[in-house]
């Protein structure tokens, strides 16, 4: 009798040479979007901004995890997520549908280990929003889970040496929707997970406990974290933190009036060549800082959220369908699609 495993192994042997990202048109980035007709899809984006593939999704996506070598992407549903789809971006085939274990929910992000043999999915326990990383093997079978040591985790990011940084947003949510349950007591944190344990935990000073740590980027030993303010809206607070292992985080802000225009909300962050950017779809702007936290400038773009490094600067995507390249703060359109790009751009 042929087991599923030997069947798959046989399939791999037949399908030589091994599929690679070239089979998916060599995209440089992946991003989810809502199409003009109201349907959802995952797109591959080439370096010049062109589409390389389009794979339909059954519901609104959020972010994805790209396999380091195989042309496979895991597209996560918008939280609270009941599914994640493992897609073959070359053939368009659905490889697997991942479902979190009973009582758990996906939170929109995930990451592979460097060798691509393990996938971590960010999850929260529906009953109390306690955070976990779900562990899946290379055939997408559930192996177990690790506690993230916080409530409402959002993004996970692989750092060199398979250390995983997790943004514990701190917000407990209703299991059926996004109603926030614990804002007065929320306590976000940033954790580094190695093996199966939290090896370092970073929290902000108590006066900033309303600042939900949600998105991450990394370059040259500096972890950037982007935040969303849940406190008094008129209070102008930093939305970007920079952390080196073992040190206190540096908080970075634009000058007061410019900072106020971010509306207390950073939706994505990315590093590119010593610059770190955060986007605010509410403030319709990209802010750039150097790796020491000095503000470099603002670039206006309506409903901008997706952000990724590209040669010479940043790639941005937005709800109006724009794909732009921003070099030293100056934006250049790469394309305008009749779709709404979702919050994140995943770099391959």
């Amino acid at each position: 009798m042929t087991s599923r495993r030997t069947f798959l192994a046989g399939l791999m042997a037949v399908a030589a040479p091994k599929p690679s990202w070239a089979d998916a048109g060599s995209p440089r980035w992946l991003a989810c979007a809502r199409e003009a007709d109201g349907t959802y899809a995952l797109f591959g984006i080439a370096e010049d901004g062109a589409d390389t593939f389009r794979l339909p999704l059954p519901a609104r996506g959020h972010a994805g995890a790209a396999h380091p070598t195989r042309p496979e992407a895991v597209a996560f549903a918008r939280r609270p997520g009941a599914f994640a789809l493992v897609l073959d971006c070359g053939s368009g085939a659905l490889i697997r549908q991942l479902t979190p274990p009973e009582g758990m929910q996906f939170n929109g992000h995930g990451a592979f280990t460097e060798d691509g043999l393990t996938l971590y999915t960010v999850e929260q326990r529906a009953s109390d929003s306690q955070g976990f990383l779900g562990i899946w093997d290379s055939e997408y079978r559930r192996l177990g889970q690790i506690e993230t040591g916080g409530i409402g985790p959002h993004e996970v990011l692989r750092l060199p040496g398979d250390v995983f940084a997790v943004a514990n947003g701190g917000i407990a949510t209703d299991p059926t929707d996004r109603t926030k349950l614990n804002v007065p007591e929320m306590a976000p944190s940033l954790v580094y997970i190695q093996g199966d344990e939290v090896v370092e935990r970073v929290a902000l000073e108590p006066s900033l406990h309303f600042n939900s740590i949600r998105h991450l980027a990394h370059e040259d030993g500096v972890l950037a974290f982007a935040m969303q303010w849940e406190g008094e809206p008129s209070q102008v607070v930093p939305l970007l933190g920079l952390h080196r292992r073992g040190e206190a985080p540096i908080l970075a802000s634009a000058p007061a009036e410019e900072q106020a225009l971010m509306q207390g909300y950073a939706g994505s962050c990315a590093f590119s060549d010593g610059e770190v950017g955060i986007t605010s779809p509410r403030g319709n702007r990209l802010h750039r800082f150097d790796a020491q936290g000095t503000f470099l400038g603002a670039t206006a773009r309506a409903d901008v959220c997706g952000l990724a490094p590209c040669p010479g600067g940043f790639l941005t995507t937005d709800g109006g369908g724009g794909v732009l390249q921003v070099t030293e703060g100056r934006a250049r359109p790469l394309g305008l699609r009749s779709r709404s790009w979702d919050n994140h751009v995943v770099t391959l």
Partner: protein
Amino acid sequence: MRHLNALALLALTASPALADVGQVLDAQVLPGTAAFAEASTALATAAAADCRPAAVTDAWNAAFDAWLAIGHLRMGPQELAALTIAFWPDGRNSGRRTLARMIEGEDAMGTDASDFAQVSAAARGLYALETMLYDPDFASYEAGSYSCTLVQVMAQDLASQAAALDLAWREDFAPALRSAGSPDNAQFLSANEAERAIFTQLHGGVEFNADQRLGQPMGTPDRPRPTRAETWRAGRSQRNIELSMAAIQAMAQSLAGHSVEAVDSAFSAAAYFGAGIEDPAFQDVEDPQARFRLESWQGRIRAAGDALIVHIGEEMGIAPGFNSLDGD
């Protein structure tokens, strides 16, 4: 509705664009920024001649009126400028506290218009000037006093800001809106994006009138907040909303390229309810009858905002922000 669809179809066959961004710029925005710059210069001139409130308030009111014609446009150069020209609401009274501290210590920053630009936003612009000219704790200064110089400097700072704003619209942002969709335009990648940007400001302006200009003093039924009314000391809270709504209506009509009956009637209804307000500073909000009148007006203003969405926004294919509303 049938009539409207027929109109839209006609416009569609006659021209590719349903909306007329150029008309909004030419008929309202650029004349508006120029008039605001002129009124602010006149205010600075008046204050320089005689700094005392009795000699300055007419010019301040004229500048405020001019601002209301464009004040809802929180876009382009005006996004940042609006914070230092029109910092309101100021829930923590930081403008008043900063001014008191500067006067108390005779802060040198208050005696030079270019230094004054470093002062916090809440202590600059039209609302900080209202405090100096109308608040009994500030407005009794004499000619030649520190406060006198401060008012002259504040008016000069406002005039400089208004001139810079007018220039930035004229030379940079209006051309960017007009050239929407051209290959080198990274701000507006299509004509529709420019239309959407303006439309969003119009609708946001209506919401600001309902939620802030009326919502702040209304507070909650248990706790009305009359001293949170906008420019209540100057007695022009009601006038601000009336002028703002009229300006928004005019821009909406320019943007649509024609008069839209349902929008006009919704704005007329709002104006009718506004005219029934008895205290122009909303200081009677604690009286249930007066509160009811404010609530009714607020409802009509919101209905005017809905009319903009249904009869102009949706016809132009404008949808609300995809990511800004997602919150993740």
